[in-house]
């Protein structure tokens, strides 16, 4: 399914309409494409190029600048271990080596069952909970080797599926307001209903929110 499917095509059109210049929608649309296929296919990028009146080379050349985009299939779970300074100071390289052994993988590779890809990541901005790991960019803080093993088991067993969608899914919340098609004016009849599907629960239960980095001590002052 290399081109954008009809639903995603509509999402792409909605995105284009948000910007004064269509090219600004390129990266958001590439995220939609990556969500659809798990990575960016050549045909998919050509389709996006057609939509935005760009050459396929421009699209690929831009996409490849950005680390989040992949051009080959990756695992269902992209496991990124941060090894930057704050995490390194808290044992991140030991954790990465543990992850390599546990998954029998070097960073940048995928398990043969297609479940896990391992990455050696730069700072993920969860340094108050170092060392930390993300799975499809959902955060897990203060991870020790045992915690890592438990995480892998939970992922395998599907116990984290509600908080960790498959690789490529960026935002499960869609813009449902102020879409140009809803407004009066060219292209819009002012009547298009907002597409509010079921909204995901945005609480964190198993994952770590960056808010956990706020320490109680700071709350000494009055509001």
């Amino acid at each position: 399914m290399p081109r954008l499917n009809p639903e995603n095509l509509q999402r792409a059109r909605d995105l284009i309409a948000l910007y004064p210049e269509s090219r600004s929608a390129l990266i958001p649309i590439l995220h939609v494409l990556q969500e659809q296929d798990g990575y960016l296919t050549e045909d998919g990028m050509s389709h996006v190029a057609e939509m935005l009146d760009l050459s396929a080379a421009e699209v690929r050349g831009t996409a490849s600048f950005y680390d989040m985009f992949h051009f080959e299939p990756v695992g269902k779970y992209l496991v990124a271990v941060c090894t930057n300074i704050a995490c390194m100071l808290q044992g991140a390289y030991r954790l990465l080596e543990h992850a390599e052994e546990r998954l029998s993988l070097a960073p940048g590779h995928t398990t043969s069952d297609g479940l896990f890809t391992l990455e050696d990541a730069e700072c993920l901005a969860l340094c108050g909970n170092a060392p930390c790991v993300t799975v499809n960019w959902r955060f897990f803080g203060d991870v020790d080797p045992e915690g890592f093993d438990a995480l892998i088991e939970d992922l395998r067993a599907g116990r984290l599926d509600d908080e960790v969608p498959p690789h490529g899914t960026l935002s499960r919340v869609r813009r449902n307001v102020g879409l140009p098609a809803q407004l009066a004016g060219p292209g819009g009849d002012g009547k298009r209903p907002a597409e509010t599907g079921p909204q995901p629960d945005l609480s964190t239960r198993r994952t770590t929110s960056a808010v956990s980095s706020m320490n109680a001590g700071h709350l000494r002052g009055h509001p």
């Binding site: 050349g61 090894t83 100071l89 390289y93 340094c127 935002s171 813009r175 307001v177 945005l202 808010v211």
Partner: protein, 445 residues
């Protein structure tokens, strides 16, 4: 008093139940600052911001009011909020977006109204999907509530806000690279001059780029006034600031502090702040303002965290990330990791940054692996000098942006403060600190 009784301005709602929802926000002054703002003229808001003297919280510490004043008079003008936070050991904007997205939206709207922008882009680092989801959900709510869109709160002012995800590139935090990225291109920084965003920004139009924390202060500032903000802090360093404390302390985390009145000693050792060094080890060195800042020694513990005070000891307050390291830390390995980061993230436009970064990384790697030569120490300084002539502070810049010149400070500080440690690696053919080796496999850049 170690922790002052200053109000918590930007972070007070964080950690409350469902703090990211409109309901929770409205229960604590939500959107009252914006309502007040649209009843004023843009000039009056500008005056409050000037009185508050709020310094940008993104790293450069430029006065927000002065920046707004530099906006070229033309139509359209754009507002772009920088939520790309990727500076190592900086993790405050991430918490602000996830925990209080409505405050960010309200702050951005106050700024947009004050500068006359009718389109706002919230650029959020792509690796923050939860932040993006909560921000988009908050925006949907804010539209329905009448705070965004056509004629907000029944006024004559209409404004649209777009949540724009990045896709993984540290350099897109640099404001001109961010604008290129927002235009759908590779994140290559633009040459300044002429491309100062306030003059020539997004699509060539005048554009203000402000940090998430900077504008998150605006709702409080509108409600309480510029004077109240300026009553906190000292000198140029007014108000409170989120300090991201990482590294070898017992209680790492974000702390909102009246920064001009808190010292490094308070921050590291106060029981309600850092709580001391882990295992009660000795403090060896501090990185005071993000990994591009020169390191400072424990002899400066009684210096405060203000912009001026840290500048006074030859470094910078930067993004507010502070990393104390204990006596078990190998400073060669620490410098190597910092340089490796910048080298990996170099956009490649400038030779000294692209090539010099690789040289520094390789030389440090071989010293750490016990294969260095004494001549390597001069070679390191020589490469640093090529990246930033004179290896001085503030750094001289021959590159398009300051990512390149962010590499030498860690190397130069290490060599100046811990030369013996570098020499011990070379003499003994091994790293003196456990674990005495680099990780077995390193992903190649």
């Amino acid at each position: 008093m170690p922790v002052t009784d200053a109000p918590t301005i930007v972070s007070r709602r964080l950690g409350r139940r469902h703090s990211w929802t409109l309901e929770s926000y409205l229960a604590d002054d939500g959107y009252l600052g914006l309502r007040k703002a649209i009843g004023m003229t843009p000039e009056q808001i500008h005056e409050h911001v000037n009185t508050a003297n709020i310094l940008g919280r993104g790293g450069a510490g430029f006065e927000a009011g002065r920046k707004w004043g530099m906006l070229r008079q033309a139509q359209p003008v754009y507002l772009t909020i920088n939520g790309d936070e990727s500076e190592p050991a900086t993790f405050k904007d991430h918490a602000l977006i996830e925990g209080d997205p409505h405050q960010l939206i309200e702050g951005a709207l106050i700024c947009a109204y004050a500068i006359g922008a009718d389109q706002v882009f919230l650029y959020v680092r792509g690796e923050f999907p939860l932040a993006i989801e909560r921000l988009q959900a908050a925006l949907n709510e804010a539209y329905a509530y009448g705070a965004v869109g056509e004629r907000i709160f029944g006024s004559d002012y209409s404004v649209d806000v777009v949540v724009h995800p990045g896709a993984g590139a540290y350099i897109c935090g640099e404001e001109t690279a961010l604008l290129e990225s927002l235009e759908g291109k590779r994140g290559y920084p633009r040459i300044k001059p002429p491309f100062f965003p306030a003059a020539i920004g997004l699509y060539g139009a005048p554009t203000i780029v402000n940090n998430v924390e900077t504008v998150s202060n605006l709702p409080w500032l509108m409600l309480h006034g510029g004077e109240a903000f300026a009553a906190l802090g000292e000198g140029r360093s007014k108000g409170t600031k989120l300090i991201a404390l990482a590294g070898h302390v017992k209680r790492p985390g974000n702390y909102e502090l009246e920064w001009a009145k808190v010292t490094f000693r308070d921050l590291v050792y106060d029981p309600v702040l850092g709580g001391g060094i882990r295992d009660d080890n000795d403090l060896k060195v501090i990185i005071p303002g993000g990994v591009s800042s020169p390191w400072v020694s424990p002899e400066h513990l009684d210096v405060t965290l203000s912009n001026e005070a840290i500048a006074g000891i030859g470094s910078m307050a930067g993004s507010g990330s502070i990393i104390p390291m204990d006596h078990t830390t190998c400073t060669v390995r620490a410098a190597w990791r910092i340089v490796r980061f910048f080298h990996r993230e170099s956009c490649g436009q400038c030779t000294p940054c692209r090539e010099g970064g690789g040289w520094l990384e390789k030389i440090l790697e071989r010293i750490e692996a016990g294969q260095g030569r004494e001549a390597d120490l001069d070679l390191l300084m020589d490469v640093c000098d090529n990246i930033s002539p004179g290896v001085a502070w503030p750094p001289a810049q021959t590159t398009i942006c300051v990512l390149g010149p962010s590499m030498p400070p860690s190397v130069a500080a290490g060599l100046r403060m811990f030369r013996d440690e570098y020499l011990a690696h070379i003499r003994d053919g091994r790293c003196p600190f456990p674990p005495d080796r680099l990780p077995r496999r390193l992903a190649r850049v």
